[in-house]
Assembly symmetry: C2
Homo-oligomer: 234 residues x 2
């Protein structure tokens, strides 16, 4: 019975027009949305934005996102921007009893998803992303040299953040508790590039619970698929 319901849901999704994501798949903020779309098995179309030609500043894109950034998102008449808001829309839209990645029906669980989603925004990302920018994005896309002072300062910040994650993940399998959630997915793109495209992936060796959590996440089909396309080692 459950199986029939799953088949019916899958068929319904296939019949609907795919949702559209505007932006390059390689962008960490675009990948934040894609990982959620992959997790829920949604049919989606990726519409590239011509960044070198300033496509993100053209009127058609500004109509989707007035701040001229990526991603933007379209689902019929619904047009959204801000990656975390789009990701939550996706997770709500495709929510089922088996697939509840925000847990908004449970006061405590939803709060833990929110806490660790905010921790990603205000602690984890500000510590790790400058390292990704300085070691990968700026040299590769802008031809700029790495600012090692920024890298070293960020590594010190990252160690403090990872220590707190280590303690937390020694008690819980996932960030929000013993269930996988948006809080975990939210860490995918930045961590992927940190591990794949900077010389500091061995930093995680000092935090075995964090490393095990990350390897567990990377074994998920969604992240394997997206990671294969994002990898700088191809």
């Amino acid at each position: 019975m459950l199986r029939l319901a799953t088949i019916a849901t899958t068929l319904t999704r296939k019949l609907m027009a795919p949702v559209k994501v505007f932006g390059p798949a390689a962008s960490t903020n675009v990948a934040r949305v894609l990982v959620c779309l992959e997790e829920v098995g949604a049919d989606y179309e990726l519409v590239d934005i011509d960044f070198p030609g300033k496509g993100h500043k053209r009127p058609d894109h500004l109509a989707r996102n007035p701040f001229g950034q990526v991603p933007a998102f379209q689902d019929g008449d619904v047009i959204l921007f801000e990656s975390r808001a789009i990701a939550k829309y996706v997770l709500r839209k495709y929510k089922s009893e088996q697939l509840d990645l925000l847990r908004e029906g449970n006061l405590e669980e939803a709060a833990m998803v929110d806490v660790w989603t905010e921790v990603e925004t205000h602690q984890y990302h500000p510590a790790l992303s400058p390292i990704v920018l300085e070691c990968f994005i700026y040299p590769t896309l802008r031809g700029l040299p790495t600012n090692q002072k920024v890298v070293d300062e960020s590594l010190e910040k990252a160690k403090k953040v990872l220590e707190i994650y280590e303690t937390h993940l020694s008690k819980h399998k996932y960030l929000a508790g013993d269930f996988v959630s948006f809080a975990d997915f939210n860490h995918f793109a930045c961590t992927f590039y940190f591990m794949d495209a900077t010389p500091y992936s061995n930093l995680f060796d000092s935090y075995p619970y964090v490393k095990a959590w990350w390897e567990n996440l990377m074994s998920r089909p969604s992240m394997k698929k997206l990671g294969a396309n994002m990898s700088t080692r191809n």
Copy 2:
């Protein structure tokens, strides 16, 4: 009948132990939670943290918030940190048909609440808060001079952000649409100090829809009450 139900709900709330918010009321992140508690009429206790004495770095506070920041929050066995996560917990816990400030049951409305909540985090706050810090927090609390270069750069950023808000608020009464929501409340503390404690409050005169939105918010009892305590003009 509705009136009886309201009285019953109010009585039940009064009988429950009040939730606790840890941190100084003057902190913008603490105020983000307080405005939500006031809006839903929750009974709460504010527990001050001895900042000058590094109370936020003591074990009892670190057990509540491992990053040693404010606010932290306690509701019986539930202990939370990160102001936006706490605020959402509060709005979910005290949600009713008349008081639904996250709109999580409506896919589109919830998405608009999320979009403009994220805009506050990633656009509005980064533009306006450095002006509050440089003109008010640093000189008053740390005895540091104002860095006018930071102020001037932030004012330029703020103008671009406010232009987008102006266009948006010319079409909608509130940020998420024609209903007040968490997205609006989220702007309270930073905007309050910008208007009350910096010499740049007249910036809003150039954006009449934004100004009207702000004045409308400030007429709410929650914001009047908190603002009276936060004001530097007393």
